[in-house]
Symmetry: C2
């Protein structure tokens, strides 16, 4: 990695005063990549009737204002917007901006395409979106454009896996704004708002250690000091002829706030975020007043004041904290669930917009397929009616969908529609599918799931690819599992794993209020599949399905339209009640990767005062959750992000769908009440839960591959005529199957003559006796890279005779190989720099 | 007058295309000098919770943006704000701005301290505020800063006297935005939205002729083309990769609008005001999109479009109209009353905030006294506890009070309070009063009127100056007038002028609903004064007063607090019903100067469809109104601006006070419901109407001096002890009385060694047999200018032996002498350039 020239980076930080309280003012804007408006509307400043926000103007204005005073600083976060703005600038403006970056006056932080949600995103998509943003910054600005700090000031709770990824990507620190109000209160008293987050159980410290700072005012300025055009705080009126001259008052208020803030942090440096949502559209307002604030507050030093204010950035602030050489409190759990008040838990969004959440997940799967097929198909597969290299459309659609108001479901309805539209567009633009239809029928599909979407154009997509006929079903039935039903109620009553000879009592029902079971059907019993159909209400049904070749029980639920004629919103859960003795523990994954232990009415870090017995016990389930005791582990693999909890011994509940009639007063300004032309009565959603009953020591051997299969499901493709006799019906890009512990995370074109390959060890440390061990992979053996004769490692060492790498348990960088088949002198967007080679 | 160098002014206008429709885009901001916020709050951008507006940022931003593209233009109007901003700029920024002005990229229009109200302002105060603004521009920018165009885009109707003043001040044209909706509709059809206003009956054309343009959209941009941060119109999205690319749509919509607008104007040039209230705080939004608009619309010329768009200014537009060499429709009346819809007449504000209106009027009087005393008192009178030259405080307070949301009464309550506070401050700062108290008791006062104000600090003022004791009354009774009362009702029944032997029947009552007369008192009958006290309701009373030395009957009314316990707002009028045969005509003054004839349900210019029989017949009464027939003229002189009408034969009604419970939905956002700590039950207002009964041919000989006496009333001053035996009790700055036709309009210090003197002929042409003639004044005879040895004329010709000037009837510049006792090479702020000398 090349470092930024000495003129920039830390060298551009303003001097501080060791014997004073140094207040780091960080001018910033928080630009949601969609929320109340779509990403396009935000960029251009369209639909300002909904919310006044125009990112093009923000960047115009900030650059102008930075040029007016070299002391000024600004940070920018969301590369999706910056990239777009950059494209529209003249080369002289681009040179100007490069100069500002090189001088450290404009600093990028975080730098991903968006600021991803942490509860409902899958790690693979987060890595992709971070790669896209960081790559642009690297290729545009080189080392001086490299973000040193991760900056998740708005996401509604924080996943440990995100911190782990940030640590492994080489960030120096992480700042955020939202955490449980009880946790914050405790940390303020104990001065533990700055801490060391040990973000992995699998990685050897300090591999996933990350300094983490909690910002003092969320990401807003202190009260009374917001000088954006969107704020109403009094400007500094420093005309001495004016009767309402207020400099003395402003200085006094500021000193009070600064000294108060210093009481709850450890060093003689404090940070103040001077900005907020879409601020700095007219940066003059902010900077003009900040210039004055700095001048007048520091002017008081002549009168004995010990407060020193300066323009700063998160990395400059962080540098001062590092210099303080303190030991920070250690944290090993995560920051979920997030509550901003005793009765305001942000846990419903774990499930909000279940159709969008599923569509995002399946889009990720298809993007990976598209990426791989583009490589396997060669250049011809990237040429089509929509132009070249069209996986870019889906990549960008997926990248914006990771935003914390996208897949999270916290955006307005029309914005949710826009994300879905972008994804649909991405599907259409993946030219390789067009090519494939003429060449090959990828007849590797096994199961059909038709997911309900609320938008008409989604139906077009469905129409395009899902014309499956039943005779294509190709699996063979093997009997691994047995379920029984209660003859009186029709409900599930037990689940058995016939291989391990495990049986647990299992009852399942759906809840919002008491729902009457209507009947049971047994319409299908074939060598391939056995089905039981259940109706719980006109708007709740389920198919219980056993496949011959699967060790998982499939519960295909259909929920909706949720009735609202009683003027009550509803959140529908399904609850599994078992004989497993859970002692109030259960486990959920973090972004689809490592598992975290949860306990009812308990937080590992502080003494919880539980105010919400249900919402306060809900956690994000990204890909799976399990309950276990010494002998039995029941794992539920989900097909999308959902919220869930274990509120009783042996019980696991998952929220499937929700429909609300009132806005939650958190800004979105409309109730989450999904309906559309296709579903005028309210959205109907269908999805799958896959249940696996195993012995705890070997459960991961089942749920790891099962979850990956659900995340990366086969792509269904069809021809519209008879098959040509010579049609190739089977094909694999791998010359041999990868070992079970190894997962091909990424294989995609990087540029014209480079390919990005990411392998990872997909088992967590100690979760599997068989698989939680290092594994050696000989690339030459596995990959049919006929066309690629030479390749290089990400770490910059050209190796032409590479044979093998060692993958250790879950984690970056040592255990996952991220490399590009081309030498590059710059830091890579994804930031994975160290490789381990065969001895 | 020096002209602006050839590089600027008209020479900087962009080229137009003779064979195309040229669309002049005029970027502008309309910055109220107080309305929803105070002038200070507007300047600094304080209280943005009330309204987002910060003028300091507007000027910052506009200058920045003008520098980015030399094609861009901007006009600025309100010197009260510009002056303030200018003071805070660095000298290099000042140089930059001068360059922009010299190059015609930043053009000043109007240029007064504020954009004065036209219904409720007195011409003398308007001249003062225009002088203050124009003088600053002249001294700062020289000839290139001279506004060529008057620009009253927002005032609620337009006074003929304003147009007359503008014409005489040398403006090339006048633009405004508001006129009666019927009038506009008619003018659109007849293409008469551009016209020649002949604005005086006294001045020989073209002395008061002024080209007048009515703007197409008030002062707003055409619908869909507002790109300010305060607007929600779609920005131009010209990224061709973007799905919502809208350039084609924008161009199409613009061409449609431009062609429609051209249909209602006469030339192949049209103007579009691209801006509105407090817009351009972030000028980048506007200019970025305007740049694109011009590029894309003109780009269509290659495809045969005949529309040419350009950045322009009102003076560049006006130049093109002049080049068209057309004859414009002639107008000789005024633009009152203003209605924006059939039932929305803006006539209530003629009376709104009667206490403020009176306070403004009396402040003007005291300012003139202060000005004169500063000169007479010499340098010592300008030094006091508040510093030097302190009539400036009052001058500025009076200048902002002329704003069309100030004395008009259309501002929010707290803003009205602020205007009053500024005036009060002006009184305190007039150091000469402090000096006088120690030197001289100006015992020239005759009558006492205590006016009620709703604010505590006004009471301080009252306390300071109005400690009058009754024994100071110094007039002698002479019997000029007789009134009789109806013994049954107690109401007035007749009025007689004993000199002319005229008697008319006169009844007077107060109306909102039927009010019962309580009783009559006759408490005072002295050689000095005779009084009759009348009560009409607990909240309406009146003293009918005859002074021995006055030919006017004084009706001192007291109204308030208006009861609202019936949940009804109220507008209280007093109506005089007489035996005069008015034939539905009556007469009101225009800004205190020329009189205009009014007729019930009639407009001189168009065929009125009357929809509001009362509000639609109300007109502003600035200083007087009269009704007459062949033998009798009853003139009512008011002590402040009020609204009034004549709805029945022989009748004249005047609205005295109003209190409303609902906002009028015109933006102010609060009902006009005045009350405060002093008047918690609602404001009590007291005022005087002075009635004069005369023969029509000689009525002006009475009402002209009477009105001036009311406008410029004696200043009451007191000592707190016994008089020193040597105290000078009488003093006059004049060595002899001026002829009755001559009025000393202004006498004030101009700078350290210059004085501004304005004399005017105060009679209208033909209104008086005695006084409506030219009059010769020998300055040396009248003025005791011992200290001033030399003086010069405004026209730039130094004359040391000046003796006399000829004053003709009402009007500028020939009939009023405006001169400064110092030679100046530049145009004078007030713009009065031509003088007439003795033969």
């Amino acid at each position: 990695m090349l470092s930024c020239p000495s003129s920039a980076g830390f060298h551009s930080c303003h001097a501080t005063k060791p014997n004073m309280l140094n207040v780091h003012l960080v001018p910033h804007t928080h630009d949601d990549v969609g929320w109340l408006k779509t990403v396009d509307q935000y960029y251009y400043g369209d639909r300002n009737d909904i919310q006044h926000a125009g990112v093009q103007y923000i960047l115009d204005s900030v650059v102008d204002q930075l040029l007016k005073n070299p002391d000024r600083r600004f940070i920018y976060v969301e590369t999706a917007f910056f990239y777009r703005w950059w494209k529209q600038q003249s080369s002289s403006m681009q040179q100007t901006v490069k100069q500002l970056v090189n001088e450290g006056r404009l600093e990028f932080v975080n730098g991903g395409w968006c600021m991803s949600d942490e509860a409902t995103t899958h790690y693979s998509a987060v890595i992709d979106q971070m790669t896209m943003g960081l790559r642009f910054l690297n290729e545009t600005f080189g080392p001086c454009g490299r973000p040193r700090v991760a900056w998740h000031i708005d996401p509604f709770g924080h996943a440990r896996e995100h911190a782990s990824m940030f640590a492994q990507m080489g960030y120096d620190g992480f700042f955020f704004g939202r955490l449980d109000y009880q946790d914050r209160a405790r940390r303020m008293v104990k001065r533990e708002q700055e801490l060391l987050w040990r973000a992995s159980n699998s990685l050897t410290p300090p591999m996933a250690d990350l300094f983490t700072g909690i910002l003092p005012n969320g990401y807003n300025p202190p009260e009374g000091f917001c000088w954006d055009q969107s704020c109403d705080d009094p400007p500094i009126r420093d005309d001495p002829d004016l009767e309402d001259y207020n400099v003395d008052d402003v200085v006094k208020r500021f000193l009070t706030i600064a000294n108060s803030q210093a009481m709850v942090y450890k060093t003689n440096h404090i940070i103040m975020t001077m900005g907020s949502d879409f601020q700095y559209e007219n940066a003059n307002l902010w900077y003009k007043n900040l210039d004055k604030l700095i001048r007048y507050v520091n002017g008081q030093q002549a009168n004995g004041s010990k407060v020193n204010v300066l323009y700063s950035t998160p990395s400059c602030y962080l540098q001062e904290l590092h210099r303080a050489n303190l030991t920070w409190a250690l944290k090993t759990d995560d920051f979920f669930p997030y509550a901003d008040d005793a009765h305001d838990f942000w846990t419903g969004y774990f499930t909000s917009r279940p159709a969008l959440k599923r569509y995002e997940r399946i889009s990720n799967s298809n993007l990976q397929t598209c990426n791989q097929l583009e490589i396997l198909g060669g250049p011809v597969s990237r040429k089509g009616p929509f132009g070249d290299g069209e996986s870019q459309t889906m990549k960008k659609a997926m990248a914006v969908a990771q935003h914390h108001d996208a897949v999270s479901g916290t955006e307005k309805q029309h914005v949710a529609n826009d994300y879905a539209r972008r994804l649909a567009n991405g599907w259409q633009h993946c030219q390789v599918f067009q090519v494939l239809r003429g060449i090959t029928l990828l007849n590797i599909l096994c199961k059909l799931h038709l997911y309900a979407f609320s938008k008409p154009y989604m139906h077009d997509i469905v129409h395009l690819y899902f014309l499956l006929k039943t005779e294509y079903l190709c699996v063979h039935v093997l009997q691994f599992i047995r379920v029984t039903f209660d003859p009186d109620t029709g409900l599930l009553s037990s689940l058995s794993n016939l291989e391990t000879k495990q049986t647990i009592k299992l009852t399942q029902n759906f809840y919002w209020l008491i729902i009457h079971l209507y009947c049971i059907h047994l319409p299908l019993q074939t060598p391939v599949v056995q089905e039981v159909r259940q109706w719980f209400a006109p708007w709740v049904s389920q198919v219980v399905r056993l496949y011959g070749d699967s060790r998982a029980l499939e519960l295909e639920w259909t929920v909706g339209p949720l009735p609202i004629d009683d003027d009550l919103g509803k959140e529908v859960i399904t609850r599994l009640d078992t004989s497993i003795k859970t002692s109030e523990y259960f486990y959920t994954d973090s972004n689809g990767r490592e598992m975290l232990q949860r306990k009812k009415d308990f937080r590992p870090t502080w003494n919880l005062s539980q105010s919400e017995p249900i919402a306060g016990n809900y956690y994000p389930i990204n890909s799976r959750a399990f309950i276990k005791d010494d002998v039995d582990q029941l794992t539920v693999v989900t097909d999308r992000s959902q919220g869930g909890g274990s509120l009783q011994n042996g019980s696991l509940e998952i929220m499937l769908h929700r429909r609300l009639l009132y806005d939650d007063v958190r800004g979105v300004g409309e109730p989450l009440n999904e309906s559309s032309g296709v579903f005028p009565e309210g959205l109907v959603v269908r999805g799958c839960l896959r249940l696996s009953l195993d012995r705890p020591p070997s459960a991961a051997d089942a749920h790891r591959p099962l979850a990956q299969q659900v995340v990366l499901q086969p792509l269904l493709t069809f021809t519209d005529g008879d098959l040509h006799p010579n049609t190739q019906l089977e094909f694999s890009g791998l010359q041999a199957a990868l070992p079970p512990a190894v997962h091909l995370l990424t294989l995609t074109q990087w540029d014209k003559d480079s390919v990005l390959l990411r392998l990872e060890h997909q088992f967590q440390s100690q979760e599997s006796k068989v698989n939680s061990h290092p594994v050696t992979v000989n690339l030459i053996v596995f990959f049919a890279m006929a066309k690629i004769s030479r390749f290089s490692w990400c770490c910059g060492i050209a190796i032409t005779a590479l044979k093998c790498i060692i993958l250790k348990c879950l984690g970056f960088p040592l255990n996952t190989v991220y490399f590009i088949f081309k030498h590059t002198a710059h830091w890579q967007g994804e930031g994975f720099l160290n490789c381990t080679f065969c001895p």
